[in-house]
Subunit: 363 residues, 2 copies
C-alpha cells in the first residue's frame, strides 16, 4: 500500500491516538515524510503476512523525550545512519524497516527511512502503542534480542550497543541519547520475517490510518467522532473502548528528568462526569484515577482527546483550560499475557495497582 499525503495526515492523528499521549508531536513526523513524498520518493506499507520467513527486518525509531524533539527537529538522515551501521555490524542488508512503536513520530521515522532507502515498511510494531522504554517491546517479550543496536545523532556520531539484556540496552543507550541532547535515532531488534510474524503487533500502522480517516470523515459529515471511533474498534485487535471521563484540564505538572517527560494531568469533571481525574504520565499516559479509583491502567490505552474536535492530544501539548474527553481502549491479547505484563505491566512503572482489563473495570 503506497501512502499519500492524505494517508499521512490520517496516520498522524491515528498514531497520536494509539500513542496514548506519547511518541512525540505527530506534526513533525508527518512533515518529515511529506518532504520525502514531495521529492517523488515512495512510502510503501506492506502487510506482515507478505513477509518471507527469511526476510531481514531492521526496525528504526527515535528515542528520547518528546518535549526535546519539538526543539530539535531531525533531518531524517539520523535513523538511516543507525540502520546502515547496524547492517554493517551484522553483515546483512535489510529487506524492510518497521516501527518499534505506534505513536507520534515513531510511526513516521520508519516511513522516512523506507522512503530514503527504497525499503518497504512492515505494517506492525513492537509496542502496539507507545512506551517509554526500549525493552518494552513484544519483540523482546517473545525472545528477539534488542542488540546489537545503534544510536545516532544529527552530527553522525553513533554508539553501537551490545548488551546482554534488553533492559541494559535501554539503560546504556538512554545514557547516550541523553548526552546526544535528549533525542537520538536508533536501529534495533533486527529480526527475520518469521520473527516479525511471531512477535510483532500486526497492522497497527494501517489501523492508525483508519482511525485518522474515521475521525476526519465523522467531522466532515457532522457525526459524533467519538461514536464513530468506538464503532470502529470491535472490528480490530483493539476490540473494546469506552469514554472514561470528560472535563477541563485544571492542572498540569511536568518535568523532563533522566531523558523522560514526567508529569500529572488533573482534569475537573464537566457535565455528567463528577470529581477529578488524575492521569500519571511517563512520556505516555499510564494510569487514570478518579478519587483514587482506577479507571484505566497500562498497557490499555488512555487517550486524552479534544472534546470538540476529538483530536488526540500528546502529553507535551496538554494545556491548562483545555476541554478534553478521555477514552480507554483494550490492547491486543499479545500485549496482555503474563510475559508481556512482566515487561510493560503496571509494576514496571512503579505503580502499585494490578493490571485489570478495561473491560473488567467499573465504568
Amino acid at each position: 500500500m503506497k501512502l499519500d499525503s492524505q494517508d499521512l495526515a490520517d496516520l498522524a492523528v491515528g498514531a497520536a491516538f494509539l500513542g496514548t499521549g506519547g511518541g512525540g508531536d505527530p506534526y513533525i513526523g508527518r512533515q518529515m515524510v511529506q518532504i520525502c513524498l514531495d521529492k517523488g520518493l515512495e512510502v510503501d506499507l506492506v502487510d506482515p503476512d507478505t513477509l518471507k520467513d527469511d526476510d531481514f527486518v531492521i526496525p528504526t525509531a527515535m528515542m528520547g523525550a518528546p518535549t526535546v524533539l519539538v526543539e530539535k527537529v531531525p533531518s531524517g538522515e539520523e535513523a538511516v545512519h543507525s540502520l546502515k551501521r547496524l547492517e554493517r555490524r551484522l553483515g546483512r542488508t535489510a529487506t524492510h524497516t518497521m516501527p518499534i512503536e505506534v505513536g507520534g513520530i515513531n510511526s513516521t521515522i520508519p516511513l522516512v527511512v523506507g522512503a530514503r532507502l527504497g525499503l518497504p515498511v512492515v505494517d506492525a510494531d513492537g509496542m502496539g502503542r507507545a512506551f517509554p522504554h526500549l525493552e518494552m517491546e513484544t519483540f523482546g517479550v517473545y525472545g528477539v534480542p534488542g542488540c546489537p543496536m545503534v544510536v545516532s545523532n544529527e552530527w553522525g556520531d553513533s554508539a553501537l550497543i551490545e548488551a546482554t539484556d534488553n533492559r541494559v540496552m535501554e539503560w546504556l543507550s538512554r545514557g547516550v541519547a541523553i548526552r546526544m541532547g535528549g533525542a537520538a535515532y536508533i536501529a534495533e531488534y533486527a529480526m527475520s520475517g518469521a520473527d516479525v510474524k511471531r512477535t510483532a503487533v500486526p497492522r497497527t500502522m494501517s489501523l492508525a490510518i483508519r482511525i485518522g480517516r474515521m475521525l476526519r470523515e465523522a467531522k466532515a459529515s457532522h457525526r459524533n467522532p467519538f461514536d464513530a471511533l468506538l464503532g470502529l474498534l470491535p472490528d480490530t485487535l483493539y476490540h473494546y473502548g469506552r469514554i472514561i471521563f470528560a472535563g477541563k484540564i485544571a492542572d498540569m505538572r511536568r518535568e523532563t528528568r533522566n531523558g523522560f517527560s514526567l508529569g500529572t494531568a488533573r482534569i475537573d469533571g464537566l457535565g455528567r462526569w463528577k470529581g477529578v481525574m488524575e492521569i500519571e504520565i511517563q512520556n505516555e499516559n499510564l494510569i487514570a484515577r478518579v478519587g483514587g479509583e482506577v479507571r484505566a491502567i497500562v498497557p490499555d490505552l488512555i487517550c486524552i482527546m479534544d472534546s470538540e474536535t476529538a483530536e488526540p492530544i500528546t502529553t507535551e501539548n496538554l494545556r491548562y483550560g483545555q476541554r478534553v474527553t478521555v477514552m480507554a481502549v483494550s490492547v491486543p491479547e499479545i500485549m496482555r499475557t503474563p510475559e508481556a505484563l512482566a515487561v510493560f505491566g503496571p509494576s514496571c512503572f512503579g505503580l502499585k495497582e494490578p493490571y485489570v482489563k478495561i473491560e473488567e473495570l467499573p465504568a
Copy 2:
C-alpha cells in the same frame, strides 16, 4: 623487557608518581598483573623504537572515577573484551597494546591485556601523566582519531562509539561509563607503529619503573628519597623538578560528580614552608597555589608524597593529618606545544591562570 614482580612493585610506585594523584589505586592494578605472572603468563614491555611502521597498536585502559574503582575491582577480562570488539570492527588484529596514560591502574591494565593475549606492550603512553578526559591525549593532539572506540563492563555489555570528534567521544563514552557504574574498560586510538612513534610520549612505563626502583633503593640505603628522585630526572624527558611545599593536610574536600573525583586539598606549611597550599583536583592534581600565587600548574606534574617514605599518594588516599611533601616536575616538550596546551592546558580545566613552565615559576 620481561617484567617481574619487583618491576611491578616499582611500576606501581612510579606510576602513582607520574599520575599526579590520578589513575586509580596502584595496588589494585599491581595485583591484577601479579595474578597473570602467577599463572605463568609473560608481561613484555617493548621500546617504541622497535615498532615497525605498519604494526597495529590498540591502547587499552580503564575509564571512570578512581574512587569507584576501589569498590568495583575489575577481573581484567573487561579491557580484553573491548580490544577484541575493536579488532572485529576494524577487521584487523592488534600486534601490540599500549597505555593511554601513565598513572595508577592505567599503567597496568595494558599489562594484563598483553599478558592474557600474548601481546607485547609498548613502553609509551598518550598523556605522559594522568588526565581526566579521553581527548586529552597526545595521540589526538597530533592527529590520531580516538574512534572507533569500545567501552565494556564486567558483564560483557559494550558500546562501540564512533564520534566525529575526540571530545564527543569522551562525552558519549563517559555517559556509558557512568551508566556502567562509574568504571568501565576501553580500547581506543587504534594506530600504526609509525603513529605511535610520532604521537606518543615515549618510555614512560620504564621511567615509572625506574622511579619506583630509585625510591626503593634510596629507602634501603637510607638516602633521602626526594634527593634521589630529583637526581634521576635530568636524565629523562621530565628533566626538571623541585619540591614546592611540605606540611600537614589540614582539610580535604571531595565529591564524585559526573563520573569524576573532584576536590581540594589544603596543606598547612611546616618547617621552612609558610602559609597554606591549596591543590585543586579533578581526578588529578591540577594546580597548586599558596596565598593565591601559582606554584605549579597543569600539565606539569604536581605530586603529593608522604614526607617520611616519599610514597606518592593518589587523590583518593589523601587523608586529614598526613604529612606530605609536594613535588612539581616539568613534562616532555611534546606536551607543552600550543597544540597540546589547547587540549590539556589550564583553560581546558576552567582555570584562569595561564600555563607557566615550572622552571619559570618563582620557587
